[in-house]
């Protein structure tokens, strides 16, 4: 089914999302925002996978299955990240990455 | 005509027509909310051996809600100094818009349906979750301790009961093999799912009451402890939209329950199909609404800790068990 939107548009969207996510993940101080940025990157992957699964050279359902797994894993990762963040916050009262420096020599 | 419209290429014309139709629905819904509230108050009065509204609009108080709405419209708009202004303004919209959006997917009769989405059930569940966000935003933006607590409670409660709600309908999906709401209705020609999936129905009913934030699960706004919960700082029409969202959800949830468990517009017996589907639908729908009101009058409010424990420790395992029971029975039927 052709919706008129070319596959490359989806891929470009995914790429842009990914880059925004990467930029956020690498530059932001607030850990919550970093975690959100990572989610953004993972969602970019999902867009890619679904696009390929529909418009790829050889379309197949595998991509969508992959997406499901990617989502599940992203959720698990986010939960663990948040849990660790909470525990960190309770000890340190900060969520800023650049303040996590007790191990610098 | 509608068929042609739907199969024609989408464009501005379609948009316009759909817009008009949707506005009609909106008016209907607003009408429902107006008289739903009145009905609720009347029924409550009846059950509590009092009259209920009976001054404005004749003996039945028919214009009571209208008057209420007008009053709200004329109230001064107050945004507290310490509130987060943009979020404070945004919150009612976030709460309301999804409540209306979910209506798009619900089939009222075999003809009267706006969007026939393949994954209608999923659509409903997904969109309805966004409302929580509006409530939390409202609670946060108010910068008020009661509001914040109410918002947090709303979030905790809604996400806790979302799980059993979602799990309970799995049995229906198993039996139907589709997420399309029309398919689900048609699959009930030989028996409503309330009969085939009684456990699912009970879980669904309880969870939906919790999702609607109605008594006995109205903790997010429990007026005796949290004053008014997340919308304590809201007034006038902003407040009205939270209320509106709540009642539109009542409408939507009742409609969804009808579709999922009571066979939608289908008559209970095929001999009765001379009566139009719309009538059947509204009958069933009214029963559900009545039951929900009935709940409100009958049950006292839950304690917060009991509420959460009930959701996780009772409803979720029961819903899961139901899913596997259904799958197992289905497999056994296939074998023999």
């Amino acid at each position: 089914m052709n919706t008129g939107v070319p596959a490359s548009a989806y891929l470009a969207l995914a790429l842009i999302l990914f880059c925004i996510g990467l930029y956020g993940a690498l530059t932001k101080r607030n850990t919550v925002i970093v975690l959100i940025s990572i989610e953004l990157m993972l969602n970019a992957v999902n867009i890619n996978l679904v696009t390929f699964s529909k418009f790829g050279l050889t379309p197949s359902i595998d991509g969508q299955i992959f997406t499901l797994f990617a989502m599940a894993v992203a959720a698990a990762e986010a939960s663990v990240g948040l849990a660790i963040l909470i525990s960190l916050y309770r000890n340190r009262k900060t969520v800023n990455i650049d303040e996590m420096d007790i191990m610098k020599n | 005509m509608v068929e042609d419209l739907l199969t024609s290429s989408p464009g501005l014309v379609n948009f316009g027509i759909f817009f008009l139709l949707a506005t009609v629905l909106l008016l209907v819904v607003l009408g429902f909310v107006t008289y739903g509230i009145l009905a609720e108050r009347k029924v409550m009065g009846f059950m509590q051996l009092r009259h209920g509204p009976n001054q404005v609009g004749g003996r039945w108080g028919l214009l009571q809600t209208v008057a209420d709405v007008l009053k709200l419209l004329l109230k001064e708009d107050i945004i507290p100094k310490v509130a987060d202004r943009p979020l404070f303004i945004l919150a009612p919209v976030i709460a309301f818009a999804p409540s209306f959006m979910v209506l798009a997917a619900i089939p009222f009769t075999d003809k009267l349906q706006f969007a026939d989405i393949g994954v209608g059930l999923l659509y409903y569940i997904a969109i309805s979750g966004i409302t929580t966000l509006g409530m939390v935003t409202g609670g946060w933006a108010s910068n008020n301790k009661y509001a914040l607590l109410g918002g947090a409670r709303a979030a905790a409660q809604m996400i806790s009961y979302e799980i059993p709600l979602v799990m309970s309908v799995l049995g229906i999906i198993l039996l139907t093999g589709s997420l399309n709401l029309n398919d689900i209705v048609y699959a009930q020609q030989n028996g409503w799912y309330i009969l085939l999936q009684p456990i699912a129905f009970i879980v669904f009913m309880i969870a939906s009451v919790a999702e609607l934030n109605r008594t006995p699960f109205d903790l997010p706004e429990g007026e005796s402890e949290l004053v008014a919960g997340y919308h304590v700082e809201y007034s006038g029409f902003r407040w009205a939209f939270f209320m509106l969202a709540e009642y539109v959800y009542l409408f939507a949830m009742a409609a969804l329950t009808t579709v999922l468990f009571l066979g939608g517009w289908l008559p209970p017996l095929s001999v009765l199909d001379f009566i139009p589907g719309a009538v059947w639908f509204s009958l069933k729908f009214s029963v559900i609404v009545f039951i929900l009101i009935w709940f409100r009058v009958t049950f006292p409010r839950f304690r917060a800790d009991k509420l959460m424990e009930f959701g996780w420790k009772v409803l979720l395992p029961v819903a899961l068990a139901n899913v596997f029971l259904t799958a197992l029975i289905k497999e056994l039927f296939k074998l023999f």
Partner: protein, 505 residues
């Protein structure tokens, strides 16, 4: 799919995984329902028993031909068997360490959790080593990663543990996303997630535009995986995480997790990119074409690891950089891409397993008794525990790659494979490797200096738990044995895994 299909699968090949999975479930329940006072060290024995029986079941399947079940998503080939054994062996050591880990601020309340979380991570590694599909590979990777994050942050009340876990999660999340992005392109161009199908499809790839995309995918995957290896460019997490995590976890990260990283690296790179034509059918494979870039990263890894290690004062940080350096060495073997590559990687991982585990056992004991992880607190260790100090010395020499130890044979093996290439021997890379090895002498001998030359602040002898003795004993014995008679391991490899020729069958 019917019951018959289900039973037709040879489920026996998944036996090791099932054993581990069952043990995890058992331990979770036991941990929940046993009273708080119950000593969770018993779990360690249960886990060790499970690991050994899983190991035996792997050994029992050595003669099994390549079997793939579940629609080719799970395959048992020589590669899977060979590397599963490394994972299992490393895990036994980690268990021994964890059972004897008694830091000053207490570990017993987390000990129960440690065992099953760790086994879950191990399960992830095992699934990765025998996955035949991108999805299983990815799920295995994450099953390994997510428990690792938790393990790193296990000591909830320790700030450094929290910080290390946070940094680990963030870096891990980013790298996962990058890997996945690369994988999504691979999937898009091949149209399948099955590794062998991908290999087949891509080997007939004609479009140069696609090659370009594949090149991008290659780098993204490599960069993402370099996180697991703690190799450049994604090594920054290692020092902080190694330092902050509980010592058994650090040992796990530096050995088992790293081995798993190499497993996924080899699985993905060799299946996907080794056959991928870079320029139409029959042309040079993409992997060979990009060899120089891998070599560059390997060199960077070795240099960074060894040079920054010189400045460290904390022993676990030092070992973090040392482990970065070792990842670089193994990457040299990976770069060389010839029939000795598997050999070299496998043997080095085996050697590294023993020497590093033994070293961490000593570090754990030391930091427990002194309450500090500074290198200078090793001063006079020789006086406190002469035999242990000597053993640690041998392990350090092995890490430094002195002849007569397994580390040396490992390095020789890597050199062999680096020099074997007919057209393009990696002389520069090997020279960097050996030069950085010499640099590594400085910090390894720095520890020796502290232990043997410097006087102790106080010299009361240390009580050494039996588990540590066993770990260090086995580690030293194996390091020397594989150093003097490496063919015990190499012959085992050659005769049972037959050169991994079934890798792509």
């Amino acid at each position: 799919m019917e019951l018959n299909d289900l039973l037709a699968y040879n489920w026996g090949v998944m036996m090791p995984e099932f054993i581990i999975l069952g043990t995890i479930a058992l331990l979770v329940l036991l941990d929940l329902f046993l009273s708080k006072e119950f000593d969770r060290k018993l779990f360690g024995w249960i886990a060790i028993a499970a690991l050994i029986s899983a190991g035996i079941s792997v050994l029992g399947m050595l003669d099994t031909p390549v079997t793939s079940i579940l629609d080719d998503t799970y395959r048992l080939d020589s590669f899977a068997k060979a590397f599963k054994m490394i994972l299992l062996a490393g895990s036994v050591f980690v268990m021994l360490l964890a059972m004897n880990y008694n830091p000053k601020d207490g570990f017993s309340e987390y000990r129960g959790e440690f065992f099953y979380l760790f086994l879950a991570a191990l399960l992830g590694g095992m699934i990765m080593s025998s996955s035949g599909d991108l999805i299983t590979l990815f799920v295995g990777l994450e099953l390994l990663s997510i428990p690792s994050y938790i393990l790193a942050g296990m000591r909830r009340n320790s700030l450094s543990s929290n910080e290390s876990a946070m940094k680990y999660v963030i870096n891990g999340g980013i790298s996962t996303a990058i890997t996945l992005f690369g994988l999504s392109y691979v999937y898009g161009l091949a149209g399948s997630t099955n590794l062998l199908t991908i290999a087949k499809t891509l080997s007939t790839n004609v479009d140069s535009q696609h090659t370009y995309l594949l090149g991008i995918a290659f780098f993204m995957i490599f960069v993402g995986i370099s996180f697991k290896l703690a190799a450049a460019p994604f090594h920054m997490w290692a020092p902080d995480v190694y330092q902050g995590a509980p010592t058994p976890v650090t040992a796990f990260l530096s050995v088992v997790s790293k081995a798993a990283g190499f497993i996924i690296l080899v699985r993905i790179m060799f299946t996907i990119f080794l056959l991928t034509a870079s320029d139409g059918p029959g042309s040079m494979p993409l992997l060979l074409k990009l060899q120089d870039y891998i070599a560059f990263l390997a060199a960077a890894t070795m240099i960074i690891g060894n040079v920054i290690a010189l400045r460290q004062r904390n022993i676990k940080r030092l070992f973090a950089y040392s482990s970065i350096a070792h990842a670089g060495y193994i990457l040299v073997a990976f770069t060389s891409l010839n029939y000795l590559t598997f050999d070299a990687i496998w043997f080095y991982l085996v050697a590294y397993l023993f020497m590093n585990m033994g070293a961490f056992a000593v570090i754990q004991l030391m930091s427990e008794t002194t309450g500090s992880e500074e290198i200078k607190d090793f001063a006079g260790f020789y006086k406190k525990a002469p035999v242990l100090a000597a053993a640690f010395g041998i392990l350090l020499l092995s890490l430094a790659g002195f002849p007569g130890t397994a580390g040396f044979i490992g390095k020789v093996n890597i050199f062999m494979s680096a020099f074997l290439d007919k057209d393009n021997p990696h002389y520069v890379l090997a020279s960097i490797m050996i030069a950085t090895t010499v640099v590594s002498y400085v910090y390894y001998f720095g520890i020796l200096t502290q232990m043997f030359f410097r006087p102790a602040a106080e010299s009361k002898s240390i009580k050494i738990p039996a588990g540590i003795i066993a770990t260090v004993g086995i580690a030293v014995a194996a390091s020397i044995l594989f150093g003097i008679m490496p063919n015990i391991a190499l012959d085992f490899l050659h005769s049972n895994f037959g050169g991994f020729v079934d890798f792509l069958e």
